[in-house]
């Protein structure tokens, strides 16, 4: 860290990079320094894009002590030259530590309390979340964590890649995931041949399934299955990601065509029977059930079960007894993994206490239990945005000067919701909220 390169080495490096002679580079930097100096003299600031900004800052006259003699002296006002690195440079330099995140300290052992208050099945999930394991209790050194950046969420395929990486990095998580998967109620599979295969797959990707659980539409396992299936079904399954009924119709039609085709084939080539047996099992299924594909059912159901379809709220809920010293912020951090999600809790409980800045101890709050701040689904993001919107509305009435920040935060989570309130909000707040 303390090592330095000399100016000569620097010139050599720059000369190599720009394919110029060292002399030319040397005089180029000389000119640059001259211009920075004259620029500071003339306008007081020089900005270099992608790097930083040099600025003169006037320091007022102040009292000081001569450190050698202990004598009190007056330090006259003077300019200070400050350099403010821009974001690019800041991030590049901080890259080794970029994964570290600010943690809220909580002096009481939350984990213990959680075990006492939560119902069994919720408790299993919460305690097995790796982030909760480190998020609770007394933490002295923050642990690396992926940054939460709702705007830059990669497409699903990328997310899965990321998740796979995480999985490789942390064997412990896999084990936890496996336990959880086994304890979760798995529906009795319709087909006898399939479940083994799908269980294997589930074992391979317990993290994926766990993380995708809050999603409305489970996509990953279906895609995996697709590769093994016939192209005809692939088509049907793709559409099933968008709409179950369409998928059902498409698959029924597809199977009907397949059956007719097979019947015709079988009369001619008897050996075909062996290869198509797998498909034949499917045939009694389609007319009755909305989930037409047995193999689909096997892989999808474990995810669909814990998330009831008739509940429009995108988070699973649990109740939480507020202890003294807790705030929205700390509850969101310990229970949801990200303090910035606190407006969701406010939104859920605002009837109880209106003012988002205060919650009363010994009060029972309804809070989400399954948020994964790195992998929020769209409905969840919208819910966070709605939470911020409620906070905005309250703040706009009570402390209008601060309200714009919450409106801005609405846009971070969902631009749709932000635009939907364009006409209700204060014009200045609106203008601020659009700045990004």
């Amino acid at each position: 860290m303390s090592e330095k390169i000399t100016f000569k080495e620097l010139v050599e490096l720059i000369a190599k990079q720009s394919e110029q002679s060292q002399n030319a580079t040397n005089s180029f930097i000389g000119e640059l320094v001259q211009i920075i100096e004259s620029g500071l003299k003339k306008s007081g600031s020089v900005s270099i894009s992608g790097f930083g900004k040099f600025e003169l800052r006037w320091m007022n006259e102040r009292e000081g002590v001569n450190p050698q003699t202990g004598e009190e002296i007056t330090i006259p006002g003077q300019n200070k030259i400050v350099f403010k690195p821009y974001k690019d440079l800041r991030e590049q330099v901080n890259r080794p530590y970029a994964k570290l995140k600010t943690k809220v300290l909580d002096d009481t052992p939350v984990k213990k309390q959680k075990k006492e208050t939560l119902p069994d099945d919720v408790q299993i999930k919460v305690t097995e979340k790796p982030k909760d394991e480190r998020g609770t209790g007394k933490l002295i050194i923050p642990v690396p964590k992926l940054k939460f950046s709702p705007k830059k969420e990669p497409p699903k395929e990328d997310r899965d890649v990321v998740k796979e990486k995480e999985k490789v990095e942390d064997e412990q998580e896999i084990d936890d995931g496996e336990d959880m998967l086994i304890e979760r109620p798995v529906p009795v599979p319709v087909q006898v041949m399939e479940p083994k295969e799908s269980r294997e797959e589930a074992d391979l990707l317990p993290e994926d399934i766990f993380k995708e659980k809050p999603l409305e539409i489970p996509t990953e396992p279906i895609k995996k299955e697709e590769k093994k299936r016939a192209p005809l079904k692939k088509k049907a399954q793709k559409s099933s990601g968008m709409n179950w009924t369409y998928a059902a119709a498409a698959v029924i039609v597809a199977i009907a065509i397949l059956i007719i085709f097979l019947m015709m084939q079988r009369t001619e080539v008897p050996t075909e029977v062996a290869t198509t047996q797998n498909e034949e099992v499917v045939t009694p299924e389609p007319p009755a059930v909305p989930d037409p594909e047995p193999e689909e059912e096997v892989t999808v159901e474990p995810e669909a079960v814990p998330q009831p379809d008739d509940d429009p709220f995108p988070f699973e809920l649990q109740s939480h007894l507020v202890r003294s010293g807790e705030s929205h912020w700390t509850i969101a951090d310990t229970q949801m993994g990200d303090p910035l999600l606190w407006p969701v809790i406010y939104e859920l409980n605002k009837e109880q206490y209106n003012n988002p800045d205060f919650i009363r101890a010994q009060e029972n709050l309804t809070i989400p239990s399954d948020a994964d701040p790195d992998q929020l689904s769209d409905p969840q993001l919208e819910q966070v945005a709605l939470g911020y919107l409620s906070v905005y509305r309250w703040t706009a009435e009570n402390r209008p000067e601060n309200a714009k920040y919450f409106l801005w935060a609405v846009g971070v989570y969902s631009m749709d919701i932000l635009y939907s309130v364009e006409n209700e909000v204060d014009a200045n707040d609106w203008e601020f909220a659009l700045r990004r």
């Binding site: 860290m1 330095k4 003299k41 270099i48 790097f51 930083g52 590049q92």
Partner: protein, 97 residues
């Protein structure tokens, strides 16, 4: 002075085209940033020294949320101006005072 002013003046002083100047400056800046992100300090005569410093973990208090926060360690760029530059600009813009 913004970036384009800087490029204009630099192009004039070196006799290169603006496009060329921009490229050269970009190269110089990228080398500087690379060195800094490796944690290597760089000093440029008559301008000053750029160093990378690790800020240790801090415990801070957020009065709004009544919560103590642990701010993780962080690597930051520090700049200390060359003494010549510093004395040159000491009273710039404040001559009247």
């Amino acid at each position: 002075m913004n970036y384009s002013d800087l490029i204009d003046q630099l192009a004039e002083a070196t006799g290169n085209s603006k496009v060329k100047t921009k490229e050269l400056l970009g190269d110089a800046i990228s080398v500087l940033s690379d060195q800094l992100s490796k944690g290597t300090g760089v000093s440029i005569p008559e301008l000053g020294t750029f160093t990378v410093k690790v800020k240790e973990v801090q415990k801070v208090y957020n009065p709004h949320h009544d919560a103590y926060l642990m701010v993780p360690p962080k690597r930051v760029v520090e700049f200390s101006p060359a003494s010549g530059l510093k004395s040159e600009l000491k009273f710039t813009g404040r001559e009247d005072e």
